[in-house]
Assembly symmetry: C2
Homo-oligomer: 534 residues x 2
């Protein structure tokens, strides 16, 4: 066998079944291997942030890595932003990045970099990254990467073409994963003591603690101790929510909202969750959303056995069987009148089918929708923004649909971030991905209008707004989506959206509904507030 075959066998033997790809010359041996058998589903994407963002969505939903095929430094670079999100979310993922033959790189052909090598890029956004020094090593790296990725790591293999075509050994067998390490008893005891000390406490969950048995256990602990059950700002992996699921509040992204939300908390206990720091520092403002004297304690990190830690904490607190507050089920009439975020939220809450996957890149349009869907039928919620890079929504919805073909994906997509990775629509059409895209259009990077308000004296002028507004020309998403093969329509009112959304849920395959939304008075008021309090 050659190196490409050894690598391919390593990945397939490790149980990897899905490849998101935008290949080039240096990946052709792998394209050939993928084509010669039927062990891997390969999904072509027209730009690499779609490749990597889809792999992120796939890995979050299945807990298993997809692998990507990326073409040399430029192709990898095009996918870095979504890899950064995936890495910060600890998504299982294996990248295979082609490179020129090792002996040809010194001739400085076009793809060689001015000041470095591909691995200078790959290591920065990967937990683990290595370049194959022989064809046999390519198979070895494949086995290592797949095993490590399954523990929630982002792994990248750089594969020069001569490592593909040279003769290679079969890949080594990898030992079974040992499971994640248990946290020390002292950590559990500390968390238990905090939860019993009578202070105002939040139990903040992230990653694998946001769903399944871990979430239920954590909810019982919160109920038994009177702590608030909180979710990290950007749920990594996914959050189980909707009717019947435990009530859990997400710490708001926007700085002032986050500060207000966390005011009064005296201590926070973290389980696999990121600390609630400000995404950006602002001049003369604190860096944490927590009160200055709030104690922060991580009982278990994402790299430790959170399920076990929560079970032990529950036992220590005798929390099993505590009555958990659960979300109710939305009821009432279909919304009528003007199309608003509130009316869309109401429609989703009423219509989303059980076991749907809700993907959220609604950005500033989404708050009312996300709030309302707490009372939708039980569903899983995904948010790509763990690394702050926008554009992850459409790829994530694609990846989730590939991961879970029997489930309906409902995707909330803002216009500005949606344009980053609009190419994902084509792959959705090609793969008949079962996604209903609710395209929330406000013709602006609204978050930037808020951020501009923090630095400007007086009103914004048209020259400033030219760098935050998307209104000239307005984007016609119906036309764009149709051109990329996704049936699309435009909702003109609340009842029109309700009917279109219901119809879309009733058929298979991707569809897009464009929804023009006003910038709300509440948002403008927040702009005024931060401008006056800068």
């Amino acid at each position: 066998m050659n190196g490409a075959q050894s690598l391919f066998k390593a990945l397939v033997d490790a149980g990897l079944t899905t490849c998101f790809a935008n290949p080039g010359t240096s990946e052709m041996q792998l394209v050939y291997e993928i084509g010669r058998n039927d062990k891997v589903r390969a999904v072509l994407c027209l730009q690499e942030d779609v490749v990597t963002g889809a792999a992120d969505g796939y890995g979050r939903m299945t807990g298993m890595p997809a692998f990507t095929l990326l073409h040399v430094a430029s192709g990898f670079a095009n996918g870095i932003a979504m890899l950064h999100n995936a890495g910060r979310a600890n998504t299982p993922l294996v990248n295979v990045v082609g490179a020129n033959a090792s002996y040809h790189q010194p001739n400085f052909p076009e793809h060689e970099l001015i000041n470095g090598r591909i691995t200078d890029f790959t290591r920065v956004v990967s937990h683990w990254s290595a370049e194959a020094r022989s064809a046999s090593e390519l198979g070895e790296l494949g086995a290592q990467a797949a095993a490590l990725a399954k523990t929630g790591k982002l792994c990248t293999i750089v594969a020069p073409t001569n490592r593909h075509w040279d003769e290679a050994n079969p890949p080594p067998a990898m030992p079974e994963a040992q499971g994640l390490p248990r946290v020390a008893g002292e950590a559990v005891a500390t968390a238990a003591a905090m939860l019993k000390n009578g202070r105002k406490t939040g139990l903040v969950l992230g990653n694998r603690a946001l769903h399944g048995a871990a979430l239920e256990t954590a909810a019982e602990i919160a109920a038994a101790t009177g702590a608030s059950l909180l979710a990290e700002t950007f749920a990594s992996r996914y959050l189980a929510r909707g009717a019947g699921r435990p009530v859990i509040e997400t710490i708001p992204y926007e700085f002032e909202m986050g500060v207000k939300f966390l005011s009064g908390f005296e201590q926070l206990v973290f389980v696999g969750a990121a600390f609630p720091v400000a995404t950006f520092a602002y001049r003369n403002k604190p860096m944490y959303k927590t009160p200055a004297d709030c104690a922060l304690f991580t009982m278990a990190s994402v790299s430790e056995d959170m399920d076990d830690a929560l079970a032990r904490l529950s036992q220590e607190l005798a929390a099993a069987g505590a009555k958990v507050p659960r979300n109710g089920r939305a009821a009432g009439e279909a919304p009528k009148g003007a199309l608003t975020a509130g009316s869309i939220g109401q429609s989703l809450a009423l219509l989303m089918p059980e076991n749907a996957i809700l993907v959220d890149e609604a950005a500033t349009n989404g708050m009312a929708i996300i709030e309302a869907t707490k009372q939708a039928a039980p569903h899983d919620y995904l948010n790509p923004l763990n690394g702050g890079a926008i554009g992850g929504g459409l790829p994530m919805a694609l990846g989730a649909a590939i991961a879970c073909p029997a489930r309906k994906v409902v995707h909330l997509q803002a216009d500005g971030s949606g344009m980053y990775t609009v190419q994902a629509l084509w792959s959705m059409a090609r793969e008949r991905a079962d996604v209903v895209i609710v395209l929330l259009k406000n013709d602006a990077y609204s978050i930037l209008d808020l951020e501009l308000a923090r630095v400007r004296d007086g009103a914004a002028n048209s020259r400033m707004m030219a760098l935050t507004s998307l209104g000239d020309p307005t984007l016609d998403w119906v036309s764009i989506a149709t051109g990329l093969g996704v049936p699309a329509s435009r909702a003109s009112s609340a009842e029109d959206f309700h009917a279109r959304f219901k119809a879309a849920l009733g058929s298979k395959g991707p569809q897009l509904i464009e929804c023009q939304l006003p910038i709300t008075a509440e948002w403008r008021a927040l702009e005024d507030y931060v401008q006056k309090n800068r």
Copy 2:
């Protein structure tokens, strides 16, 4: 003044007048500065490869750097591919990349990288890169970067937010540029000796030697000595061509075509041009397109004074006044019948106005068109592929149109690479960029079908083709472009294209004409050839 003001003043004082941007929170102080005065034209782009690719096009046409605003590591990463092209082309360019406040980065907010810092990315694709350690240094770096960029360097400044808002000194005055170094007399003498030794010789030009006085001087040298006048495979900066311009042949990209083209050459003299190496090494094939015993000599590199070197060489060879072979002017009837690359080439040759800018990302569709336009009215020719990263065409056409608002840009765009940066269409609409896009659609990454033929045994199957074909669904570029604000239509025949192209040339602003083209028999024959000779 604050750091943002010092940086802005440094760039404006250095003569930079154009900014391509996709800003975020960390760049808001600069957005505010841009808005407070009218010294800089700011162009919003919806994805960062459009930002950087447009800056590449602008810098090539004006010889002056544009500056970019890019948002933190993810935003910079999104623009790396087109920066790599620009860097390999030695385009003048200054990037300003925002970053979180230096004191907040250790808190590991979302945008911080798993294994490094923004500068780990920036240095790899920049000739020069630095992070500001104080607000005053931000202005200093701006002055340095602008001065260095003007010599054909790609320069990147990383600017944490606290360096923007802290109090700063005005930027320092920079000494006038000293000009590029003269090449040694020995180098000119060696080139002269080679050109007189009677061997079959090519004079290979690149970058600034491809236009203006340098091109005319080189053409006289070739004419006087019997050497062939050649252009590097991907013209960096731009190539002056069309009727009345010196005849110059471009070394083909595709490996076998390049080898055939260069067979028989005994020596090549390079002036600012890249060596004709294979873009990728192939198993058991040579790495150079030149014959094994062909001598290669670089008289002047892109970092040296090519004009001066050519003038001295001309003097040594007494070449001034030699009769230069010049391109004729296309004549004849408008093409009729089926729409083909040949017919499109004929239309362009007849209709392109004098002083047009022809941007070429036609890829495998383009050979016949590019050949035919040699006899169009005199024009300048741009090709973004110096770094091998596809997707540079639409951004480059945007940047060229911003750089030269009085000139018509004609842009040849293949479908696969066009989808990489399709967002550029929106900025063209917004800026009323005077670009006619000829969209060449063959529903495939044809170059990859060729590359697959090099590695496969037997025919390609549908699973392999699924990673190289764009046919399911077919892209509707008329719908996509219209949705992004660019008027678009579809040509159904040679005469229909001719009429649509003529009409588009007669009006201002962006327009797109979709042209469905067959994969040619010649291309299929080449696939067969490489498959049999692998």
